[in-house]
Every structure is written in C-alpha cells, then in structure tokens.
Amino acid sequence: MTKNDAAVLTAAELSPQAAKWSRTFDYMIIVIAAFLVMSVTYLNFLLLAGDWDFFIDFKDREYWVLIYPIVQIMMAAAFQAIFWNLFRLPIGATAAALLFTLGVWIERYQSWGGLSYFPITLVVPGTFFAGALILDGMLCITRSFVVTGLFGGVLFGLTFYPSNWAFLAPYFQPVKLMDSVTSLASLMGYTFARTGTPEYVRLIERGTLRTFGSPVWVSVFFSAFVCIFQYFFWWLVGTLATKATFIPVGYRFKQLYGMKDKVQSGGAKPVGAEIKTTGVVA
C-alpha cells in the first residue's frame, strides 16, 4: 500500500479490509449498471422504434431519421442523469450507445442472421455514438444539464444522419429492376420478403416536396427540435429514479418481517397497540 493509498483510507475512515470489501462492491455495481443500461436502452428502443432500424430498406428519410434519435435520447438522458447525479460521471449517454451497439450487433448476427437467415447486410443497425459523445462531452465541460439539453439535444438530432451516412450510402446506389429504377436497399428488401411485416410500414414516404430533392434535412431538424424536450423530460425521469424513497411498513407486517423494536423501527402503529402490549384495559 502506498502512502497515498493509506491517506485516502484514513480520510475515508476505512480499514484496508473494509476498503477491499468496498472495492468488491464497486465491481458488482459496475456489472449491474452495465446490464441495466444495456437492457433498458435496448428494450426501450426495440419497442418504440425498432421497426425502422431492423432492415436497411426501412431506413427511410421520413421516419427513421426522425424517430431513431428521439427514442435513443430518452435513455441517454436518463442514464446521464443517474450517473451524473450519483457519481458525477459524464458517461451515461456513451455507456447507453456502447452497450446498445454491443447488444444490437450480437442480436443481428444470432437472431436475424442465425435464426431467420437474413443477410447481415440487410439488417445492419444504425448508431448514435456521435450524439452520445457530444452529450457526455458537453455535460462534462459545462456541468449543466440545461446547456447540455439545449445544445447537446440539438446536436444529438443533427449528427444522427451524417454519422450513419458512411455505412448507408452504398445502399442508395440506383439499380434497374424490371425497367424501373430503385435503390440497392429496396432491391434487397424485395428479394428477402418478410412475410409477417405489413408492407405499408416500409412504404411510408409521402409528400410532394421530396420530388424536388432530398428532404432528409427537414426530418433531421425536426428530430433535433424534439430531442431538446425529450432530453429534459428524461433527465427528470432519471433524477427521479435515483430517489431512495422508503415508505414505513405497518406495525403488524413489521413484526411479521422480524422487527421487534417498535420504537426504533418506525412505521405506523395500529390503534390499540399500546393497550395490548402493556395489558392495560381501557
């Protein structure tokens, strides 16, 4: 043990043995936190925006660009609040992005590829790493969730499409199919039919302005706008989730659970409890 270590232990009022226990406890918490971040981020995204990210031909300009960041910033903000409020660690959003990415790649390989035999190129997932790093970096520098929400929220939405463009661009190559022009992504979609998914989910792009060019930036800006409000709301939810609230147990249940000391244990006593215990008859 170095002199510095010993000084830290003295300041913390811990013996080396207790410090060892405390460190073991830390490791256990890290594992729990990692699984928690992964599972809640994943479940949230899967059932609120999953369809638009499962397949390459579903990654359209109208809804994928809009919904993906709006949904992913929910847990990014909530876990930022939890990690920042409890530990002053600006890692919540990046942890959500990292663990989500880990889970989603395992899943795309073992499930979409392994069980249903779709090619991996059809089920490549999107990513929100860029936005998550910006959120955490901004919180780290400004130490303010208000500034992070206002500016980080906007950048979270704005950076989503450009940061996914690199892997997405090749799928937008035009191809000729039965004398019609379509994209490579759509061609893959036609080839690998998904019998259990209604086709109208995929063919969703509507509007007239897109005739004159790509309106994707309209979706990007709208998404960035909504991300601001999402961030603040979910920061609040994350903050509430860290409240260590106890509600006193009733007297009888307390006794049932093994608490004998009525005074020390707190909780509501039933009317007449004193009479029974002291034997005084009113």
Partner: protein, 271 residues
C-alpha cells in the same frame, strides 16, 4: 490531531478491526453458479429453437407442434414457477425473526448477498430485454403466426419472463426478510424494479388480444407493444435502490473499520 498524524499513528500499529482480518463478508460462488445455470438454460432454449422452430413450429395444428412446442410450454411453466415457490417458501420460512439483534458483520454479509441477488436478476432480465426480445421480432416478422403460443413466445414469454420474475421476487423477499432497512420500510425503488418488469407477463394479455383481433402481423413499434417499454422503464429505479444499498453499506464499512473504532475512542473525554 491532524489527519496525517492520525494516519501515521494508526498505520504504525498492527491493524485490527472489529471483525477478523480474514473474515469473508461476501461469497460470489452462488452468483457464479446461478449465472452458469441461467446461461445453460438460455443457450439450451436458443439451440432448441434453432433445431425445431422452423421444422416443427410453423403450424400449430400439426401433431408435431404439440409434441415439440406445447410439451415444452406445459413443462416450463410449472417447473419454473414451482421452483420459484420453493425458493420463496425457503426465504420466508428461514427469515430472521429477530432483526433487531443483527450484528453489523452479519448485516454486511446479507447486503452482499442482496447485491448478488440483483446480479442474478439483472442477468436474467438482460436475456429477454436484448437477446430473446429482438428474437421475437425476428420470428414474427418472418413467420405468419397462427397461435398465441408460437415457438418464440413459448421461449421468450413463458420461460424467460417467469425466470426473471422468480429472481426479482426472490430479491425482494430476501431484502424484506433479512435486512432491517427493508423490513421496517417498503423500498419504493425495489418495489418498482421487481413489480414493473414482472407486470410484463400480465401485459401479454393485451398483446395477445391485439394480435388476435387487430392484426396478426408484427409491427414492433405499434402502440400495442408500448406496455413493454413503459414497464421496462421501471428498471431505472435500480439507481435509487443502489443508493439505498450503498448508503447503508458505506455506514457498515466504517462501522467495521478499526480506523472508525479508534476515532470513537479518541473522541471520548480524558478522565
């Protein structure tokens, strides 16, 4: 006396705490065993799907469906909940009936066991939230369902969900029957963490009703499914639960530290 002088005095003497230096207050072997068991079950179920889902699971009216899938369903439900009732009964019968006499050392050990229960619970939960959850989307977006008890549902909802429910309720029961803070008060975060994800099983009623009468196809983001993420959000309360656990464990660490003991002795007035 300054901190540095206190430190030099305390480290010059042999360190002796209120517990023996070799005392083990935690034991991770049960967690490792439970993880190993759960891993074997999940991998086994996934391999079973790989072998028999497309082969015998496409037509629920076929006799082979009854043999390979309904028999699994009829076995796993009583087996998992039966094991759960045994664990819960054991935790209840062996509860501490005099928690006021609990020593700090035993209390710390129990807190470590509680954190071990959380490790088992979250490990069970991540398998459905990530692994079998999206696997369900894979199956139902590929195969047209003709029953609520599909090869995916039989594994995801009727094996994985009951398994993490057993782990969650066991965590709740362990805390309530062995730790004073959780026996004298209901921990709101603990109740949320256990009851919220547990309600995913009854929420299946809505899911199946919607798929039976609204549409048989799979749109994963459809409002019909929003109950699942909403109930999953309750997992965030694990943050508050860990605060409760950490607060008490930090006190116990100090209580069992010789440094703390020495500080108490020094603070007493001289005779």
């Amino acid at each position: 006396m300054s901190i540095s002088r206190e430190y030099s005095r305390s480290t010059a003497e042999p360190i002796r705490g209120s517990v023996d230096a070799n005392t083990k207050v935690y034991n991770l072997i049960p967690v490792v065993l439970a993880w190993g068991f759960l891993l074997a079950v999940y991998v086994g179920l996934r391999l079973y799907q790989q072998a028999f889902a497309f082969k015998y699971g496409l037509d629920s009216t076929a006799p082979v469906f009854e043999t390979y899938w309904m028999s699994l369903f009829k076995t796993e439900i009583p087996l998992i909940f039966g094991a759960g009732f045994v664990i819960w009964a054991y935790l209840w019968v062996t509860r501490d009936r005099n928690m006021d006499a609990l020593t700090p050392e035993v209390e710390l050990k129990r807190y470590f066991y509680l954190v071990g229960w959380f490790l088992i619970y979250i490990f069970a939960f991540v398998w459905i939230a990530v692994f079998f959850g999206e696997g369900d989307a894979t199956w139902h977006q590929t195969v047209v369902r003709d029953t609520a008890l599909t090869p995916s549902h039989i594994v995801t909802f009727y094996a994985c969900v009951p398994l993490y429910m057993v782990c969650g309720v066991s965590s709740l029961m362990y805390a309530t029957t062995r730790l004073p803070a959780f026996a004298k008060s209901y921990s709101v975060p603990l109740l949320m963490v256990v009851i919220g994800p547990g309600l995913i099983l009854p929420n299946l009623g809505f899911n199946e009703w919607g798929h039976a009468y609204w549409f048989t196809e799979e749109i994963f983001s459809h409002p019909l499914h929003w109950g699942f993420p909403v109930l999953g959000w309750t997992g965030l309360a694990l943050g508050g639960l860990l605060v409760q656990v950490m607060s008490r464990m930090a006190q116990l660490f100090k209580q069992l530290s010789p440094a703390d003991k020495a500080r108490v002795v020094r603070s007493q007035p001289a005779e």
